[in-house]
C-alpha cells in the first residue's frame, strides 16, 4: 500500500492538468526525455537517474503526489521556447522538483540518492 500517488503524464498540457486536479497536495515532479518503444530515453542522464529517484520514492511524504513526466522528443526539448523551459523554467533533463517551491535537483544532482532523499524529506 503506497502512501503517495504515482502519476505518469506525457507533455506539458497533461502535466498541467494533473497538477490542477490535485490542488492542495504536495507534488513532486520528475521530468525526463521521452522513452522509446523499448522503454529507453533519448536522454542518457535520465536513464541513469531514474533508478536512483525510484529507489528513494519510499521516502515521499504521506499523501503526496509523484508525477513522472515525459517532456517530449529531443528536437522538442532542444527548442529554447518549449513550454517546460518557458513557463516551468526548467533548464535541463532530468529535473526533479518540489512543485511550487525553488527546491529542485537538476541533471547530475539527480544521480545522488542522498540529495533525492533530502528533497523528499526536508522542509
Amino acid at each position: 500500500m503506497t502512501k503517495y500517488e504515482d502519476v505518469a503524464v506525457h507533455g506539458y498540457e497533461e502535466f498541467c492538468k494533473a497538477v490542477s486536479e490535485r490542488k492542495g497536495k504536495e507534488i513532486f515532479a520528475y521530468f525526463s526525455g521521452d522513452k522509446d518503444d523499448q522503454g529507453k530515453s533519448w536522454c542518457p542522464d535520465c536513464v541513469k537517474a531514474e533508478p536512483v529517484v525510484r529507489g528513494e520514492l519510499s521516502y515521499l511524504p504521506e499523501g503526496s503526489v509523484f508525477i513522472y513526466c515525459q517532456v517530449g522528443d529531443r528536437p522538442y526539448w532542444k527548442d529554447p521556447n518549449n513550454d517546460f523551459k518557458k513557463t516551468l523554467k526548467l533548464t535541463g533533463v532530468p529535473t526533479l522538483l518540489r512543485y511550487g517551491t525553488p527546491q529542485k535537483l537538476v541533471e547530475e544532482e539527480c544521480f545522488k540518492a542522498d540529495l533525492v532523499r533530502m528533497l523528499f524529506t526536508e522542509d
Binding site: 517551491t101 525553488p102 529542485k104 535537483l105 544532482e109 542522498d114 540529495l115 533530502m118
Partner: protein
C-alpha cells in the same frame, strides 16, 4: 575519538570551509518578536544584503519607469506598486538560495542540523531542535558564527510589542503605510526603498545619519532622500508607542532641540537602532570563552581563535583582540572598516573606500591633506530631467609628493559597482597621479574620478563642465 572534526554553530559559510574533515553545521533561527523566521544562509541571504538590494532595485525601477517617459516610452500616467508581488519574488529568490546552500552542504558531506547549539565544554556542543529534542556531539574544533540580530529600544514602552525590525520587513506579505523608521544607523536604505515604491515614510534620528561615515557625503545622501519624498525628523527621539482602537500606532516623540513632546500616527514602526551579537544563549562564559562585556561580542585574536584554543569565532559575533591602546582601538577598528569598500544602497547610492575627510584631517592635519572634488551630472539624468545636485565625488589625498589617496567617496547611480573597481587601485597604493594618468572610459560617471582637478582648498566651483 570525537564525533566531528569541526562543528559550526551558525549557518553561514563556515560549514563549507573544509570538505576533508567530518563537519557538522547547526543552524537555527530564533523567530523574531513578530514570529518571523527563515532558512539556511544567515542574515545576509535572508534578512540583509540580498533582499535589501533587491527591494532597492524595485524602487530604482520605479524611478526608471518615470524617467522612461522622457525617453519616449509610452508609460501610463499613474504607476502603482504591488508589495505582495515584489515580496513573493524576493522571497522566492531567497528560498532558492536557502536550497542552494542546503544542496552544497549535503554535497560536501557536511552534516546539517536545524538545531540551536550551545557549549557544554571545550569539546562538546549541545543541540536542541524546535520541539525541544536534545542531543550532544563532541568536536575537535568548534566555530561560532551566530551573527547578530536587530536591537529593540527596550526603554521605549510599546517598542517591542508594536514595532518591527529588518528581520520582519522583508518577509511581510503586505505593508501598510504611512510608516516610521527609527534609525541610528544604516536603515536609511529601508526608508529609501519604502519611499521609492510609493509608501509614505518618515525617518526619525536622534543625532546624525550614517555615523562613522564622511558627514559631507552623508548629508548628500539624506538631502537626496528628502528631496525625493522621504520625511526626516532630525534630532528627535521616540518616547512611547501605543496602539489606537483603529489599529494605527501612535508614537509620542520628543524634539531634542525644543524639548517639546509631539504625537503622530503611523501604520507601522520599523526599528533600526543597531544590532546585538547572539551570544547570551551560547553558554560561552561558563566554558571560559571571553566576551567583551560592553558589546557582547566574542574576543578573538588575528586567527579568529578565542580564549579557548580549539574554539573560534567569525563574523559579526567576533571582535578583534585589543592590542592597541583604548583610544586608538576605535580608530583602528574604524580604519579596518573603511579599508573595505562599502556601499550604502540608499536611493542615491553612496560608495566609499578609505578614510572620511574628518578622519584624514584628524590623523594628518588639515594642512597635510588635499581634497579633490567634483559635482557631476550622469548623462542619463539629462533627458530624464532628473536633479543631480547630490551627485558628487571626493578624493582625499596626502598633500605631498605623488599624493597618495587616503579615501575615495562617490554618490551616484551604481555607486557600488564604481567603488569596487577603484578599491582595487586603492589596495595597490593609489595616488592622485595614478588617477590623472588613467585613460577615461567615455561616457561614464566613473570617468569623473580620473578627471578630478579642482581642490576644495581653491574654493573654485567644482561643477563639471564640458566633456
Amino acid at each position: 575519538k570525537y564525533d566531528y572534526d569541526l562543528v559550526v554553530v551558525g549557518g553561514g559559510s563556515g560549514g563549507l570551509a573544509s570538505s576533508k574533515e567530518r563537519v557538522a553545521v547547526l543552524d537555527f533561527v530564533e523567530p523574531s518578536l513578530k514570529g518571523t523566521k527563515w532558512g539556511l544562509g544567515g542574515t545576509c541571504v535572508n534578512v540583509g544584503c540580498v533582499p535589501k538590494k533587491l527591494m532597492n532595485q524595485a524602487a530604482l525601477l520605479g524611478t526608471a519607469l518615470r524617467d522612461a517617459r522622457k525617453y519616449g516610452w509610452q508609460i501610463p500616467e499613474s504607476l502603482s506598486h504591488d508589495w505582495s508581488a515584489m515580496a513573493e519574488a524576493v522571497q522566492n529568490h531567497v528560498k532558492s538560495l536557502n536550497w542552494g546552500h542546503r544542496v552544497q552542504l549535503q554535497d560536501k558531506k557536511v552534516k546539517y542540523l536545524n538545531m540551536k547549539g550551545s557549549l557544554v565544554d571545550e569539546h562538546t556542543v549541545r543541540a536542541v531542535d524546535a520541539k525541544g529534542k536534545e542531543m550532544k556531539m563532541s568536536a575537535r574544533n568548534i566555530v561560532f558564527a551566530t551573527g547578530g540580530r536587530p536591537k529593540y529600544p527596550t526603554h521605549v514602552p510599546g517598542a517591542e510589542e508594536f514595532g518591527i525590525t529588518s528581520d520582519d520587513v522583508f518577509w511581510l506579505n503586505d505593508y501598510s503605510f504611512p510608516s516610521l523608521c527609527v534609525c541610528k544607523d544604516v536603515a536609511l536604505e529601508c526608508a529609501g526603498f519604502l519611499t521609492g515604491i510609493g509608501l509614505d515614510t518618515t525617518v526619525m534620528l536622534r543625532s546624525i545619519a550614517l555615523r562613522g561615515f564622511d558627514q559631507q557625503m552623508s548629508g548628500l545622501v539624506t538631502d537626496y532622500m528628502e528631496a525625493h519624498g522621504t520625511k526626516f525628523s532630525w534630532k528627535c527621539t521616540p518616547k512611547r508607542v501605543q496602539k489606537l482602537p483603529s489599529g494605527l500606532l501612535q508614537v509620542t516623540w520628543m524634539d531634542l532641540n525644543t524639548k517639546e513632546e509631539h504625537q503622530d500616527t503611523f501604520n507601522s514602526v520599523l526599528w533600526a537602532v543597531g544590532r546585538a551579537p547572539e551570544t547570551k544563549t551560547l553558554n560561552l562564559e561558563k566554558v571560559g570563552v571571553e566576551i567583551n562585556k560592553e558589546t557582547g561580542k566574542i574576543i578573538v585574536a588575528a586567527d579568529e581563535a578565542t580564549s579557548v584554543p580549539n574554539i573560534f569565532a567569525i563574523g559579526d559575533i567576533a571582535e578583534g583582540r585589543p592590542e592597541l591602546t583604548p583610544t586608538a582601538i576605535k580608530a583602528g577598528r574604524l580604519l579596518a572598516r573603511r579599508l573595505v569598500a562599502t556601499t550604502v544602497f540608499t536611493p542615491l547610492e553612496y560608495g566609499c573606500v578609505g578614510l572620511s575627510e574628518e578622519e584624514a584631517e584628524r590623523r594628518h592635519g588639515k594642512d597635510q591633506i588635499e581634497l579633490y572634488h567634483a559635482f557631476y551630472k550622469p548623462l542619463e539624468f539629462t533627458v530624464a530631467e532628473r536633479d543631480a545636485t547630490q551627485c558628487y565625488i571626493k578624493v582625499v589625498c596626502l598633500q605631498e609628493g605623488e599624493q597618495r589617496v587616503l579615501g575615495l567617496h562617490f554618490t551616484g547611480p551604481n555607486a557600488g559597482e564604481v567603488t569596487q573597481g577603484f578599491s582595487l587601485g586603492f589596495q595597490c597604493g593609489l595616488t592622485y597621479e595614478h588617477l590623472r594618468n588613467t585613460v577615461r572610459t567615455h561616457p561614464t560617471c566613473a570617468e569623473e574620478l580620473v578627471k578630478l582637478n579642482i581642490t576644495k582648498r581653491s574654493g573654485l566651483d567644482a561643477t563639471v563642465t564640458g566633456c
